[in-house]
């Protein structure tokens, strides 16, 4: 369920690092908690993102939820499929429905993020 090559934040985002590009998404647990997702608001390519600061918002029918960037960097690509099909976030949050790709600035703070096993015990304890 939670890929081993991802790192996870306490705010339920995941990051996958390929060289200096980081792909960011929300976790399966997050989509489950949000319910039917109907709108995704993402920054434009070129925007700077900062660790711990708002990256965008995800809205379900009932709730608005902020997405926090787990790393510092510059947005190079946003997932074009989500504008017209935000429900993909409910279907494939760890795959097809990634949110943004970011060029990492400096050293990615991966040690501040959780492994798959750590994240699973984190959400286990939260419930």
């Amino acid at each position: 369920m939670y890929p081993d090559n991802f790192r996870y934040s306490k705010e339920h985002e995941w990051v996958r690092l390929d060289g200096e590009t980081a792909t960011i998404g929300i976790t399966d647990h997050a989509q489950e908690e949000l319910g039917d997702i109907v709108y995704v608001d993402l920054p434009k390519p070129g925007a700077k993102v900062e660790q711990g600061k708002t990256l965008g918002t995800v809205e379900s029918v009932k709730a608005v939820s902020e997405i926090y960037s787990p790393i510092n960097g510059e947005v190079v690509e946003i997932n074009p499929a989500l504008a017209d099909a935000p429900e993909k976030l409910n279907e494939d949050p760890h795959g097809e429905a990634w949110l943004v790709k970011v060029r990492v600035e400096g050293q990615a703070p991966l040690d501040q993020l959780m492994s798959a096993a750590e994240y699973q015990s984190y959400i286990g304890a939260e419930e």
Binding site: D36, Y39, V61
Partner: protein
């Protein structure tokens, strides 16, 4: 689960969209036991009910129901309610969960009649069976001839062998029933209704779908479209105020407001893009702040993002007016539209 006036209530069971759609297309089951009940009894029960509510209670037939309001003397809402006439000397009120004590005290404070007011919420569970297959579903577990129930009428009979008040009312915009019975039987009746509706794909529905369904149907929700600072005239509910019936609490204030002209009114709107307006977002008209969003949500049936808002009625007239909604510090285009957003096909 969320805390709702002391009740643990699920926002959703299987998902708001799925629950919403099953009510529009087939049948859904809601646990609305959090709703409050007040009984008004005695020789002058009708006089008291008419004095504290806006609609004409005494004109009801026995077994008939009306939508009504409890107002403060200044015309603002204490609550919006349903009035059931059980007998000449007995009226049964269904009120909003979080308002029940306030309503009870309000009615009692105006009771200079030969009538008794009782808060009876603890004596009732309320379940709502809603949707085009509601009649077929409920009919399997009640001897009452549901086909003969008119909309906004009720009868005392049995559901799943349990004595129950069966009312053809609802808060979804679909056909359906609201059923009141003893809390000790809740689980059994709930389960039997789920079995009865299984061939129609019945689903338990939570507060989330209840809200999107009522919003599409343009029904107000206390705390959103209605509160102590808003009157029925502003909310577009003037037709539920019967000025000819004699005096009632708030009557003079409403008449003054009608005479002086309205400064604001409730409008429906649709977002032009994909952004969703949410409750209490600021609304701009002609480039300046002019009102606020009372309810906003995606409409699963229309596949659009809709909402209701208060705007200056002297400047904004009718549907088709361009407005803007402030969403996360950005002005987003929207347009006023006719309420309700959805009407069931008949």
């Amino acid at each position: 689960m969320v805390d709702f006036g002391g009740w643990e209530m699920p926002i959703q069971y299987s998902g708001i969209l799925e629950e919403h759609r099953v009510v529009r297309s087939s049948v859904g089951l809601f646990d609305v036991s959090h709703m409050g009940e007040i009984d008004i009894c005695g020789p002058e029960a009708g006089d008291l009910t008419d004095f504290v509510t806006t609609n004409h209670a005494r004109r009801l037939h026995i077994g008939q129901i009306q939508y009504s309001g409890l107002l403060y003397p200044h015309g603002g809402y204490v609550d919006d309610i349903l009035v059931h006439k059980v007998a000449e000397d007995h009226y049964f009120l269904c009120v909003n969960a979080s308002n029940q004590e306030k309503d009870f005290e309000h009615i009692r404070s105006h009771n200079r009649f030969d009538a008794r007011v009782e808060l009876t919420s603890d004596e009732y569970t309320q379940l709502a069976v809603q949707g085009p297959r509601a009649v077929e579903t409920l009919q399997k577990v009640t001897p009452a001839e549901l086909g003969s129930f008119r909309y906004y009428w009720f009868r005392d009979d049995e559901v799943a062998g349990v004595p129950a008040r069966i009312a053809r009312t609802g808060y979804t915009g679909e056909d359906g029933f609201e059923i009141y019975f003893a809390p000790s039987e809740s689980e059994r009746v709930w389960n039997e209704l789920l079995v009865a509706g299984s061939e129609f794909g019945i689903k338990p529905c939570g507060l989330g779908a209840r809200n999107t369904l009522r919003l599409e149907s343009g029904y107000p929700l206390y705390g959103h479209e209605l509160d102590a600072s808003l009157t029925p005239v502003e909310a577009g509910l003037g037709s539920f105020c019967k000025f000819g019936k004699g005096d009632f609490v708030g009557r003079d204030a409403l008449l003054r407001q009608k005479e002086n002209g309205l400064t604001r009114a409730l409008f429906g709107f649709e977002m032009c893009g994909r952004a969703i307006a949410r409750d209490s977002c600021e609304v701009y008209f002609e480039g300046a702040p002019a009102g606020w969003v009372t309810s906003g949500s995606p409409s699963p049936t229309l596949n659009k993002n809709v909402g209701m808002c208060y705007l200056p009625s002297d400047r904004v007239s009718g549907p088709g007016q361009p407005i803007q909604v402030m969403i996360r510090s950005q002005l987003v285009d929207a347009v006023t539209v006719q309420l309700p957003f959805y009407k069931r096909p008949r």
